[in-house]
Each structure stands twice: as C-alpha cells, then as structure tokens.
C-alpha cells in the first residue's frame, strides 16, 4: 500500500490537534494560578483542585455518579447475561425482534427517554429518587452490557461446555464453573463500558435528578449554565482523568476498537 504523502500528514496533524484541543484546554486551565479563566502562563497551581473541597455538592454528586454507574451496570448485567446466552445459542421465533428491542435504547434520543422516565416515575411516586435513577440507567446502559456479552458468548468454544455436560455438570454448576468464566472478559468489559456510559450521561439524567440525587454531569451542567470559572474546569479535569483511566484499562484488556465498534469478530 502507498504511504501517506506530506499533504495527508499535515491534514492528519491538524485533525488530531483539533480533536485534542478542547480536552487539553480544559485540563490546562484547571491548573491556572489566577482567579479567572486563563491558561497557566506563570506556573501551575493546584488551588482550583483544592477549591473543589469547599463545594460539598460536587463531592456528593461525584459519589452519586460513582454509585449509580457501578450499581446500574451490575444490575444491567444480571439481565443482560442470560439474555445474551439465549440470543447467542438458540434460534427461536422472535429472536431478532428481541435483540432489536434490547438494543433500542441506542436509537431512542436520550431527551425522549428522559421525558418518558420523568413522566413514568413521577406518576409511580418515585420522582427524583435514587431508585428511579438506577432503573433508568439500567435501561440506557443495557445495550452496551448486552453487546459485549453477546460478542463473548458468540465466540465461545462450545466443546468445553459439552465436555462438562458429558461429565455430569448441568444447570447452575455448568453456568458458574464453565460458561461464566469463559465469557468473563466480555462481561467485565461490558460492565466497564456500561459504567462509563452511565457516569457520563447528562441528557437523560438531567430530567430525573433532584437536589440530593444530582449526578456529577448534571451538577456541572447546572453550574456552567450560571457561570464558567476555573472551578468547573478542575472538576472536569478530574472527570476526564477517571474516564481516561477506565479507557486505557479497557483498551489494554479488550481493545478499544472492538468495544466501540461493538463487533466481536473484528479482531486486532
């Protein structure tokens, strides 16, 4: 194959710089020693990271987001793993319709989901509660949990299971000792991707969160609507750091292109 020419490389460089610039500028401004928005030209300072401690609502929102992400991703897997095993192994009537239904939260705009859940949980008397947030997040992260589990279950070697059955294993033992360990990398990656999706969701959550159950993106969004100052950049820098860590782990563990393309067969 031909190599990239100089023109292509210049285009590529500008492209990458533009892609990275907004994220980089947030992280740089977070380290400003000044009291206003500026790039740190006279040395770096951690003053705006220390200031976060004076805003308990940000700290509280961080724990809400963390708990919500961890719990809703786990609950989503409890529903997604059996469903993925069924879809991967059996050819039954309604299989394609079921798969389409389970992936549909990807197609429905989050603003519509937010409105639907707000209406639903308010009439159910659960408006603004943490339980409502969990259930809503289970639905929006479900497709991610399902896709990665499905990819692992489809690519799994069935002969190992057959050997276990011939040795007398069945039902729960078969699942816990043979099937689950075989699909575990897919399940864990599914959990991580689901966690990131839940941790970052703003559009749907902004409809459901009440004071006390505000997640970090919601808190940041409401804060930005009033004013943009270095405080919100330092909070953003922390969020970026959390996501980057999860991202690098996910890439090492499973391969980012596979995670994002959602195709188990596009091996590296």
């Amino acid at each position: 194959m031909r190599r990239n020419g100089p023109l292509a490389l210049i285009f590529h460089t500008i492209f990458v710089v533009v892609m990275v610039a907004p994220i980089l500028v947030v992280c740089l401004v977070a380290f400003t020693p000044e009291g206003f928005l500026s790039l740190p030209t006279n040395g770096f300072s951690l003053r705006w990271f220390r200031t976060i401690a004076n805003y308990p609502e940000f700290i509280h929102a961080f724990w809400v987001s963390l708990g919500l992400g961890a719990l809703s991703s786990f609950v989503a897997l409890l529903f997604a793993v059996p469903a993925a095993l069924a879809i991967a192994r059996y050819r039954f009537r309604g299989r394609d319709a079921l798969a389409a239904l389970f992936l549909s939260p990807l197609m429905i705009p989050h603003v519509v989901l937010g409105i639907a859940f707000l209406r639903f949980f308010t009439s159910a008397g659960l408006g603004g509660s943490f339980a409502a947030l969990i259930i809503a997040h289970v639905i929006i992260v479900f497709p991610f949990a399902l896709r990665l589990t499905l990819a692992a279950a489809t690519g799994m070697d069935r002969t190992v299971e057959m050997a276990a059955v011939s040795l007398g294993a069945g039902g729960w033992t078969l699942f816990r000792r043979v099937s689950l360990p075989l699909i575990l990398p897919g399940v864990i990656s599914g959990w991580a991707l689901a966690f990131i999706q839940s941790f970052d969701d703003l559009t749907m959550t902004v409809f459901l969160a009440a004071p006390g159950t505000e997640t970090l993106p919601v808190r940041m969004f409401l804060y930005i609507q009033d004013n943009i100052d270095p405080l919100v950049t330092s909070v953003s820098a922390c969020v970026i750091a959390v996501t980057m860590t999860a991202l690098i782990l996910l890439d090492r563990f499973y391969g980012l292109d596979r995670v994002l393309a959602g195709k188990g067969d596009t091996g590296r």
């Binding site: 194959m1 490389l9 492209f15 409105i115 409809f207 993106p217 980012l256």
Partner: protein
C-alpha cells in the same frame, strides 16, 4: 434430539430472556406510550395537566411559526454537522488506515477516545476556546490571516456546528474505518499498475467502496446531532433553542409537560422516519456491497 430436550430448547431461550423482556416492556415501552398519550393532554397555568384527549398541543406546534423555525434550525444544524464530519472524518479514516501498526492504534485511541469522555467537559473546552470575541480560536484564525474580524462562535449556530462536529467526529471516523477494513489493498495496487494516478484511485476506487461507511456514519451523526442536548444548551445559551433544549425548558421551567411531550414525540417520529428511510435507500443502492 429427544422430546424432552427439544421442548427445553424451545422454552430455554424464553426463560433466559424473560426477565429482560419484562424489564423493557415495564420500564421502556410503557413510559414511551405514556409520553405519546401525554402529548394529547391539556395543560393550564393554574389547573396543571388535565387527562383529556385534545389536539391542542399538536395544533400549536403545527401553526405557531416559532416551532417550525426551531425544528428547521435543529435539522439545519444536524445536516451541517453531518457534512462537516463526513468531509473531514472520511479522509482522516483513510489516512489512519494507511499508517503502520503502532501509530495506527495510537491515533485510533486518540481520535476515538473522546467518544467516552464527558460531553459536558468536551463542550466546556469549546466554550473556553471560543470565549467571547478574543477567544483562542479567533486569535489563531486572525494571526493566520484567515479572517479579518473575529467570528462570533458563542451563542451562534456556527459555534454549535463546530462543537457538535467535534463531539460526533469519532462516530464518522469509526464508521468509515470499518468500511476500509473490508477493502482489499491489492485493488489499489492493481489500479496503480494499470496507470491510474492518485486522484483517479481515490475517486474511482476508494470513494465508491467507502461510501456505504460514510452514509451509515452520516445517519448516526445526523440522528445524534438532531437530538443533542448538552452542546446546544451550553454553546447556544438560553435563547438559541433546538428541539431537545426546548423540550427541556417546557418540562423543567415552564412545566407545560404536554407541550414538551408533543415536541419530544415529534422529534422521535421524525428521526425514526428519516433513519429507517435512509437506511432502506442505502441498502438498496449499495446492495452489492453489503452482500
């Protein structure tokens, strides 16, 4: 297979999917149906929501030019964003695909990684770069001589399109990149050996083959841009409304839920029609590529 085993293989998939199915019917389909119903209810400043069946909200959306203008703005922004991502994302995916192994995975991580970084943080980055009339972007463009006077980015559609294109770019690159993986690199060499120049190769060999990837990426980018909330809300401010931010206002500020539900329902229906329609068109046009 024995009778008992056959019966199990009929029942087993339903038993395994039942919990998820019940969850989805109970907490997804019913709330969506309730939202559509809600759009036919009445609302008044003092009486609140009245569960009657009227077409008041739909009539208001159909006749008040404010809504026509808002929906037209929403789709205009989505179309421009889609064009921008296609024009820049497709060549970048092609360049990326020609890089050697280690660089390829490194830059793929750099370009696709932002997909998973908080949209609020990425949009905040653009708000900082735009920042008034002497923002960094304007300073850079003016020092390069590309523009004479600063372009207003904040609270304008231009700013929204630029920031949205950045947010959506990974989807386009990913989609074109996936199409490039199916392409046989030897075809390019064959064309070269037959005397085709670089322009001819790109126009006659590469473009037709990655077009399905560009188009399916365009559908994703379009539908996500048309329903985007965070970026239009932060860059557009309180006045420049799109469908998602208007629905948010009706629900959480004006508290006219039935009207907000009508806007959301219309957005959902319009997007489903556009996506399903263009998917069908693409599949018919490029049937031989998908086969």
């Amino acid at each position: 297979m024995s009778m008992a085993a056959e019966e199990r293989s009929v029942r087993a998939p339903w038993a395994l999917t039942a919990p998820a199915l019940i969850l989805f019917v109970g907490v997804l389909l019913i709330p969506l149906a309730m939202t559509v119903m809600l759009s036919f209810h009445d609302w008044g400043q003092y009486k609140g929501i009245e569960p009657v069946f009227i077409l008041k909200n739909w009539h208001e959306i159909a006749t008040d030019p404010y809504y026509a203008e808002m929906f037209w703005r929403t789709f205009r922004i989505a179309i421009l964003t889609t064009l921008l991502t296609a024009l820049l994302g497709a060549p970048e995916a092609y360049i990326l695909n020609r890089m050697s192994g280690r660089w390829k995975s490194f830059f793929l991580l750099v370009i696709l990684g932002p997909l998973l970084i908080s949209v609020v943080a990425r949009t905040l980055g653009w708000a900082l770069l735009f920042g008034g009339n002497n923002g960094l972007v304007n300073k850079l463009l003016m020092s390069l001589g590309a523009i004479r006077s600063p372009i207003p980015f904040m609270f304008t559609e231009t700013g929204m399109v630029v920031a949205l294109a950045h947010v959506m770019m990974p989807f386009m690159v990913l989609s074109v990149w996936a199409a490039l993986q199916r392409l046989d690199p030897q075809i390019e060499n064959a064309a070269m050996s037959l005397g085709a120049g670089p322009v001819t190769i790109i126009r006659r060999i590469i473009m037709p083959q990655i077009m399905p990837g560009v188009l399916s990426g365009a559908i994703i980018v379009f539908s996500l841009s048309a329903s985007a909330f965070a970026t239009p809300a932060i860059i557009g401010g309180r006045r420049l409304k799109v469908a998602a931010t208007l629905a948010y206002d009706e629900f959480l500020n004006t508290l006219n839920w039935p009207l907000g539900a009508a806007v959301a329902t219309l957005l959902l229906v319009a997007l489903v029609l556009i996506v399903v329609g263009s998917n069908a068109l693409i599949e018919r046009r490029y049937a031989e590529v998908f086969r």
